[in-house]
């Protein structure tokens, strides 16, 4: 393939319809960042509403227009904001933005391949994602408002435009957008799996794969197995909405009119949705864990502790993630016996998760830590993964879930364990592999400032939410003023909003750093972090085909840091073993 690397490329084939995995990765990243900014602005808007319910605010008028007449946010728009915020963050930022970016960038580079198994399918995957993103953004502007039934779009609320205006055209566009999103995700996922299985360079056995590769590989399998189920759920919902079927609808009277639907069950939708929805949270978190495994080891100048246990726990988490979905449904009236089964499997997930957390901490022990911004975000991830993971033990227990289900306790839990951990992993990845994307370095001091303000703002936002939940405050309330029992919680909500604004503002530092560094950052060296993996053997210029000559051969695992018997504190994977030297 390398001999084809020099043909003339025009602007479009190089930057737009590129089939080069590195360019596609950047396309995913930038689209993800744009969607992230939109989702973040939404969160700031609804946080202001929660802290100061019903009070007019010029920002509402600025962003929401007719939906905030006189500066007072419409309750339907509030629900639309939380819905689209969730959708954008979970799918567009933390699935496509995270997995799409780093799987594309790193898989060929770290396994020693010239490109993905199919460059064309890869490009197709991005363009489906792009169209899906555009449709989702268009849905924000329709007259009846965007989808507003929560990101989980439970019918009948999502099926009946009479129930909430957002279930009109807004929901139709949401469904179309998500269908295309799933197509994108499947195309990408199949490509990642095939590439990792077939295109590994000579000597790179599965037990020598970097943990990033293991994480992306397993993530892709999870996606391929679970996303089709979302498509089926969405299709049945489209039938119910448009063609008069009754998959999810039964015995409904809405706005004084009895619907003819009989026999359907919304619980069916919940099962289908969460059959994707739960593996989805691991699709979000596993790549972040893979990225940090790499970064923590590199910057501790020490092998990752317990490589085999790390691989085992990824596989364990992945397997269990398919048999825990109904822990989202303990209070739906599902059979109590089923509830018991799902509590059992759910709490089991804590074991591989604990192994991962302990192994990260032990990797730091007796290391020689180098605090790059990527390393700080990785340590931040370990902290949030621990904090958020622990509250999962409460929520996974069905008896306890009865009283904290759908309260702010849940909001705090999943934002910390999945939202923060995954976004920290994503930031870590961007800081760490920026030189591989743009040939330049990001600004370190801005990176430090970004990390510190973000972690303080983020913990300040989500940690207090546990207390709100334990006080019984339900999520998705436009205002908490309707219940005297929540009056005393108003101050906490102001603090949370304040922290959220600080945390959101810190992201401006990142955006500034990201954009400016593309053009003005320090020129990168070939191996700026003195890391072992193959991507650092490619030239800084990021050529098509990745290596100018032969693809390097792999002789060892990727974690030979500070190995006795070597002058340098790292030994790259393509360095042959010395005589008598043992692989890990």
């Amino acid at each position: 393939m390398s001999e084809h690397g020099h043909h003339e490329e025009n602007f479009f084939s190089k930057y737009v319809f590129s089939m080069d995995h590195k360019m596609i990765a950047k396309q995913f990243l930038i689209t993800g960042i744009i969607m992230g900014v939109v989702g973040m602005i939404m969160s700031v808007l609804f946080r202001i509403q929660i802290a100061y319910p019903g009070q007019p605010n010029p920002m509402f008028e600025l962003f929401l227009g007719d939906w905030a007449e006189g500066g007072v946010m419409d309750p339907n728009m509030y629900l639309a904001l939380v819905t689209i915020h969730g959708t954008l963050m979970v799918f567009f930022v933390l699935t496509a933005g995270l997995s799409g970016t780093f799987s594309n960038l790193l898989i060929p580079l770290q396994i020693g391949a010239r490109d993905m198994a199919s460059g064309f399918i890869n490009a197709l995957s991005y363009w489906f994602f792009f169209i899906s993103s555009v449709i989702m953004l268009i849905s924000l502007g329709v007259e009846t408002g965007p989808a507003s039934a929560g990101w989980t779009i439970y019918p009948p609320l999502s099926a009946l435009p009479q129930a909430i205006p957002g279930s009109g055209l807004g929901m139709t566009l949401w469904l179309v957008s998500m269908t295309l999103f799933v197509v994108s995700s499947l195309l990408g996922g199949l490509n990642y799996i095939v590439t990792i299985l077939n295109l590994r360079t000579k000597g790179l056995t599965m037990t020598r794969l970097p943990l990033t590769m293991w994480a992306f590989f397993v993530t892709a399998i999870l996606g391929v197995l679970s996303f089709p189920v979302l498509i089926s759920a969405v299709l049945l919902l489209i039938f119910d909405r448009g063609f008069g079927t009754s998959f999810y609808l039964s015995d409904i009277m809405i706005q004084g009119e009895v619907l003819s639907n009989v026999g359907g069950s919304p619980i069916l939708f919940e099962h289908l949705f969460w059959f994707l929805g739960h593996p989805e949270v691991y699709i979000v978190i596993l790549p972040a864990l893979g990225i940090t495994s790499e970064i923590i080891s590199t910057n501790s100048r020490k092998p990752i502790f317990g490589y085999r246990a790390m691989v085992g726990s990824i596989l364990g988490i992945a397997f269990l993630s398919f048999i825990v979905w109904a822990h989202h449904m303990f209070v739906t009236g599902m059979s109590p016996f089923l509830g018991s089964v799902f509590t059992f499997t759910t709490l089991l997930i804590a074991i591989p998760s604990a192994v991962k957390a302990f192994n990260y901490i032990t990797t730091l022990w007796k290391g020689n830590l180098r605090f790059t911004p990527a390393m700080l975000f990785s340590i931040g991830l370990v902290s949030t993964f621990l904090t958020g993971g622990l509250t999962g033990i409460i929520l996974g227990d069905n008896a306890l879930d009865i009283n904290v289900h759908d309260t702010y306790f849940v909001v705090g839990h999943f934002h910390i364990v999945m939202g923060l951990s995954a976004i920290f992993g994503m930031f870590a990845g961007v800081y760490h592999w920026f030189p591989k994307m743009y040939g330049r370095m990001m600004n370190k001091k801005l990176g430090y400032a970004h990390f510190w303000i973000t972690i303080v703002g983020a913990y300040g936002t989500f940690f207090p939410m546990h207390y709100l939940g334990l006080a019984g405050l339900p999520r998705r309330y436009y205002s908490n003023t309707a219940f005297p029992m929540f009056d005393d919680l108003a101050d906490i909500n102001v603090i949370i909003t304040f922290c959220a604004i600080i945390g959101a503002a810190a992201q401006l530092l990142f955006l500034y750093n990201f954009v400016v560094s593309i053009f003005r950052g320090d020129k990168a060296e070939q191996n700026p972090w003195k890391a072992n993996t193959l991507e650092w053997t490619t030239p800084v210029e990021r050529i098509h085909g990745n290596w100018p000559g032969e693809i390097p051969e792999v002789h060892r695992w990727p974690y030979d840091y500070s190995k006795p018997g070597y002058d340098e504190d790292f030994v790259m994977q393509n360095v042959p073993l010395k005589e008598g030297e043992e692989d890990h």
């Binding site: 490589y307 009236g333 509590t343 059992f344 007796k366 759908d406 001091k445 205002s479």
Partner: protein, 383 residues
């Protein structure tokens, strides 16, 4: 306005920081140092910052807990809730313990092993013994939690121990709750959404209600027929005829549903009591049955540690025994305005945040007195 100012201030601060960093960058360039290289000084500073953050984080946790503990839900007002609370305290204690051990270790190790060019890391790739320990210990702890949790769950969900419960149906719709008491016979009569209308707010299928509803329909039908005859505009007439057909169809549906419903179910409905306030006697089980008219709602009683979804087309239920009356809870919390509430805890539309019902727990006598003062389905239809 304040928020806007805060936002502007924050943006300005961000730009200021960015500019300061630029100055550092330029001065580095003059000195010939690459900005992006991590120096020993950076490691030292960041290591110390991590330790400081770790300490402040732990302190913040204690301060928040001390300050906000009184805001959390008061003691459980239901019997099973005490079991749940015990399990909650146990689990909470456990996770807080792990939290207070692991977080400090993480930040302390980050500080202690902050890098220096004269140091080297120790090559340690794994330790089977340690890894087995921290796989098995969580496994044992979780086993205990799982067993205890499942035991609690089984006891909460047990429906075999019903002892003369108050049977109440809670009917959810956008955006309020209606309660239907089973009455003296302890049996809820049949109900169907197609019967909802007029007085019959929850769609009870009772002969008395049918008579009232049919009579109302008949009046409307006759009126419409008269109107159609008087109407000259063909378009308007067609529309009215369409309405007429709908009413006739409704009449048919009513009759057919009633004929298909067993006589004892029909009779059971007559003494049902439909009200807008939930009264429960203390120390007696309440068997709550839930239905929804339109979308999914969730009946959440935070003070009783009870929650169950209300799903259209499906019947769900929950049993709990209140052990503290509203009065007793007022004393317990020191809040003389305290009321138990039922709230909706599943996103259901624009006024979701205000879908509530007051719950009053009182002595058996007061409860009986109150219930007797409410009209039954039969009585309200014979007025």
């Amino acid at each position: 306005m304040t928020e806007l100012l805060i936002l502007v201030a924050v943006v300005v601060a961000v730009i200021a920081i960015a500019q300061v960093v630029r100055i550092f960058e330029l001065s580095n360039k003059i000195k010939g140092v690459r900005e992006s290289d991590v120096t020993d000084k950076d490691n030292d500073t960041q290591g110390k910052l991590l330790l400081t953050f770790g300490i402040l984080f732990m302190l913040a946790f204690f301060v928040m807990t001390a300050k906000w503990n009184h805001l959390l839900l008061p003691i459980s007002a239901s019997e099973h809730g005490l079991e749940i609370d015990f399990l909650m305290d146990l689990s909470m204690g456990l996770i807080i313990l792990v939290f207070l051990i692991t977080q400090p270790i993480l930040f302390y190790l980050s500080f202690k092993y902050r890098g220096h060019k004269n140091r080297t890391a120790t090559f340690i790739s794994h330790n089977d013994k340690a890894e087995i320990i921290w796989t098995i210990v969580p496994a044992i702890v979780l086993t205990v939690l799982i067993i205890y949790g499942l035991k609690t769950w089984a006891s909460v969900m047990d429906r075999t121990n019903l002892d003369n419960p108050v049977v109440v149906e809670l009917y959810a719709k956008q955006f309020d709750w209606t309660a239907r008491y089973a009455g003296e016979d302890g049996q809820l009569g049949a109900a169907n959404v197609r019967f909802v209308g007029g007085l019959n707010s929850v769609g009870v299928i009772a002969e008395s209600a049918l008579l009232t509803q049919n009579a109302g329909l008949q009046v409307n039908i006759e009126k419409t027929i008269a109107k159609i005859e008087a109407e000259e505009n063909a378009m308007k007439r067609a529309k009215m005829e369409e309405r007429l057909h709908k009413m006739l169809a409704k009449q048919k549906t009513f009759t057919s549903i009633v004929t298909r419903t067993a006589q004892d179910r029909l009779d059971a409905a007559e003494d049902d009591v439909v009200v807008k306030e939930l009264h429960l006697p203390v120390n007696r089980q309440a068997h709550l049955k839930f239905r929804s008219q339109d979308v999914i709602h969730s009946a959440y009683f935070p003070h009783f540690r009870a929650q169950m979804n209300c799903v259209p087309g499906m019947n769900t239920d929950f049993v709990f025994k209140p052990i503290l009356t509203t009065e007793e809870m007022r004393e317990e919390t020191g809040n003389e305005n305290f009321e138990y509430v039922l709230l909706c805890n599943k996103i259901c539309g624009a006024a979701h945040f205000n879908m509530q019902m007051t719950v009053i727990v009182e002595s058996e006598e007061d409860y009986e007195k109150w219930l007797a003062s409410q009209a039954t389905v039969l009585a309200s239809n014979n007025n």
